[in-house]
Amino acid sequence: MSCLKIGDLYAFLEGELSPIQRENIEGHLSSCPRCREALAERRLLSEAALSLPDLEIPADFTEQVMAAIVPVRRRLPVWLIATAAGLSSLMLLLLVAVISGEENLLTLLARLNHSFWGYAKNAVVLGAKLLTLLSLTEKVLGSLSQPIFKGLSVLTSLLRPGGQVFLMIFALVVFVMLFYFLSKKLMMGEKT
């Protein structure tokens, strides 16, 4: 066997040879002092390269980097923005009223308190009415849906088989689109 190639020596050192290739190289090395010397040199070089010292890093490097990073402003929820805007407007109104001297602060607060609970009562009544309306709508739609779908079934059965298939595919596509639209609107997961 002729002397080894450099690539073989490195592959041997890094354990990247097949058992047969390894055996061949070991056989050659046992009888060739030049290749043994070459291998030893490259082994030493690799070991020295692995022990290259770390470059010194300042103790506060992480803090420096963090200070340089401008935190990405997180989008606040709409309800929080609306509440904050409402509260600050209210505070501003109160402040204007007090400064202008038209109203005593205590009187103003008492009036405000009275109005607030009045509005709260109205909101509860309105909510209850809406719920009643929704339950009525559900009842009406429930009783109407049965004859509607029965009628649709009878009507479509009058169509040719091709027409029936087309109509069913059309209805399926509409349902899938509706489902997709709703799931997108209601999606809560994190975007990756």
Binding site: A38, L44, L45, A48, L52, I57, T62, M66
Partner: protein, 189 residues
Amino acid sequence: MNEEKDKVLVKRTLRGDTKAFEMIIRNYQQSLLNYIGRMVGERELALDFTQEVFIKAYASLRSFEPQYKFSTWLFKIASNLVIDHWRKKKIPTLSISEPLTDDSDGLTLEIPDEKPSIIRKLELAELGKRIDWALGQIPTALRELFVWRHVNGLSYEEMAEIKNLPVGTVKNRVYQAKEMIRRLLETKP
């Protein structure tokens, strides 16, 4: 570095947890500085570049695709920064897809018959210093691969992924870098 741990830290950072990104910095600052420092040759500049790598990584964290290794992604950002620096300084950047020599596959063995090896005479620490010097003399593209392999301990597969090259080409370039360093150490003891 732990691949899964990195991905958890990335997710936490994306949810707004800045402490998680702080941990990422602590995990990678030394290896990135070791790499960049040996590529640009100036510690202060290397510190600035290392900081820039983290800033860029933070700004584009959403574009990180979790099927890849986070460390590979970071080193890719660092490598692009270093290449930009070389271009600005008009340092010739050899494309590592181009062969350096005709015998790229079978580098020939040149061993003196009787002379004792110069490398062998040196202690490992002293040899390390000389390797650092020799690294500055070899082509930048080969230096980069050598540093990744021997200083950062990247696998050939990781390096191939960063450079978008076949693993065989990367291995060959690392061998060429080692040979160049060895010859430099022999000619300039």
